[in-house]
Amino acid sequence: MEVRVAHVRKEFDRFTALRDVSLDIRSGELIALLGPSGSGKTTLLRLIAGLERPTKGAIFFGDEDASLKTVQERNVGFVFQHYALFRHMTVAENIGFGLKVRRHNRPPDAEIRRRASELLDLVQLTGLEKRYPAQLSGGQRQRVALARALAIEPRVLLLDEPFGALDAQVRRELRRWLREIHDKTGHTTVFVTHDQEEALELADRVVVMSQGRIEQVGTADDVYDTPNSPFVFSFIGESSMLPVKVEKGEVWIADRAIGIAAPDTPDGEAVLYFRPHDIELLEGSGGCIAGTVAASRRVAGTRHVELEVGGDRQRVELEIPTSHPASEKTRIAFRPKKWKLFPAAG
């Protein structure tokens, strides 16, 4: 099922959660909504589910306008961060709930039981039908929650920070497992996360959101290699930045050209973004960025160095392999291998 979000705006009392958001989700895709808290990602997910109503704009399931339909009519599978399992029901009853409450073509009880144990097999919890949610671990509960959502054969599967309440190891395990389930069942799946590793590893495409807007939509490679805004550059992966000046197609710090050509950038103030590990360490002082080491700490196999650059002592962070001789020096010269220039804000 394709899902199309068209110019959606959502206002709560005095707060605008989403401003003019449009997004096309392809059928069968696994897509991540990624952003810091308050970016509107959960609101967008709840709007797709029908748990909230857009202030403006519409949401389409295929060609059909779903905005006017109730949650029940939309037939979506929703998985909550804190599982929201019904605590007084057994695992099997939880999974069968969506089928039991149907008023049209409600399957007979035996069929519901059969479906529940089938789904338990799928989520690798075979034999736990009679347990109660309180008797399960966090990871198992989330698996049950997913089985419950899948039981109604949803048109779209929506997951709100599905692994947010779990510890790191279970999280990694469930991530791989979710990917497998997705590939097996082929549901169009949207999940919300603030964990970029989760989004980059799991999703076909990542939607980076900030302050109620979509900043960029693309594959994991797209958003890391060609971020289209300072926000995306600094939000995805490690990044360093330096205020610079662009003049005559060259990039300058104070009165020194740093050996980076910028032929397409208009003259004026700009900010240079690069990855702290993706640099070339140089000898000498021409055509490079040079500075004195202000602080340095070792993190596993690399040394994180804070460099003071230029007359106004702008600080910039670099990652240098501990084996490199530069990691012991007090003055370091370097040039980023890959970089991106954004016009200075304001």
Binding site: G77, F80, A84, H88, F97, V101, R102, A145, R148
Partner: protein, 292 residues
């Protein structure tokens, strides 16, 4: 051989920062027990002693007296109407307050607490002013043959008024704490509003609800002040058990008064036991606030 320490040197003993000395602790406990013993247990014992003063026969006679039976019936009837009424009202109010955001919510919560802060006599007087002969509604009601004051409807109204906070107050914090997650899960799975209520919300609140109903029932049966104002004290017709106790006592019929009173006291004891059992068994599922 171990060296003997001089007796005067005492080992420094660790004392927890928040613990009183032993005598102080025993003193506090003794005061608490003594106070409860004199003011609660002793009167309770006296009620039963007085009730059986002239033997079991007199006790039973006092209870099967037609007026006493009428009072017991009326009390049960009033409870049978007002408890379900407050059950429905309590769930509705708690649902509205816990699950929705709306203007005037704080005001609604204050209103629910009103019967706790108003003297029951005033609660009764409100109905007298509203439905009495001198009120706006009184003559109209009289012309249409509707009796509210000094009749069963008035007693029910007064009891409902006095007891309506119990269920609502029990459920509000419980439902607020549980949030709307389970309900959202249920509707996303296709459940209708009623199905969500029956299968998800109600099971989640059942023990808190039972607790609230228990307290509500105890108060409904025992209410004196408000009922006294609106009842009119007509023997065999508008006397509830507490009112009947008062009348018998004023007539120096100690055995009769205490026999009926012992029924009320028994009810209180049963309520107390059930309440304690519920708290032990389902404490976590019953709201943490105990404002009454």
């Amino acid at each position: 051989m171990a060296e003997a320490k001089p007796a005067t040197v005492r080992q420094p003993r660790f004392r927890s920062a928040v613990t009183e000395t032993r005598p102080a602790r025993y003193m506090l406990m003794a005061i608490a027990f003594l106070f409860l013993g004199i003011f609660l247990v002793l009167p309770l014992v006296v009620v039963f002693i007085e009730a059986f003063q002239k033997g079991t026969g007199a006790f039973v006679d006092a209870l099967i007296d037609p007026d006493a039976m009428a009072a017991i019936r009326l009390t049960l009837l009033v409870a049978a109407i007002s408890v379900p009424a407050n059950l429905v009202f309590g769930i509705t109010a708690a649902w509205a307050i816990a699950k929705f955001e709306f203007k005037g919510k704080a005001f609604l919560i204050t209103l629910i607490d009103l019967p706790f802060s108003v003297s029951p006599v005033i609660s009764g007087l409100v109905y007298v002013l509203l439905f009495g002969a001198g009120s706006l509604l009184g003559p109209w009601l009289k012309a249409h043959g509707v009796e509210i004051l000094f009749a069963v409807p008035g007693i029910v109204l007064a009891t409902v008024f006095v007891t309506f906070p119990f269920v609502a107050r029990e459920l509000i914090p419980l439902m607020q704490e549980q949030g709307t997650g389970d309900e959202e899960a249920a509707i996303s799975l296709g459940a209708s509003g009623w199905q969500t209520f029956w299968f998800v919300t109600l099971p989640n609140i059942k023990w808190g609800l039972l607790y609230g109903v228990l307290l509500c029932n105890a108060r409904a049966m025992g209410e004196f002040g408000a009922v006294s104002v609106v009842s009119g004290h007509i023997r065999g017709l508008t006397n509830t058990m507490p009112l009947h106790v008062e009348i018998l006592y004023n007539e120096y019929n100690a055995v009769g008064a205490f026999a009926v009173a012992s029924l009320l006291a028994g009810l209180a004891l049963v309520t107390l036991v059930l309440k304690t059992l519920l708290e032990i068994r389902y404490g976590a599922e019953i709201a943490a606030t105990r404002g009454h």
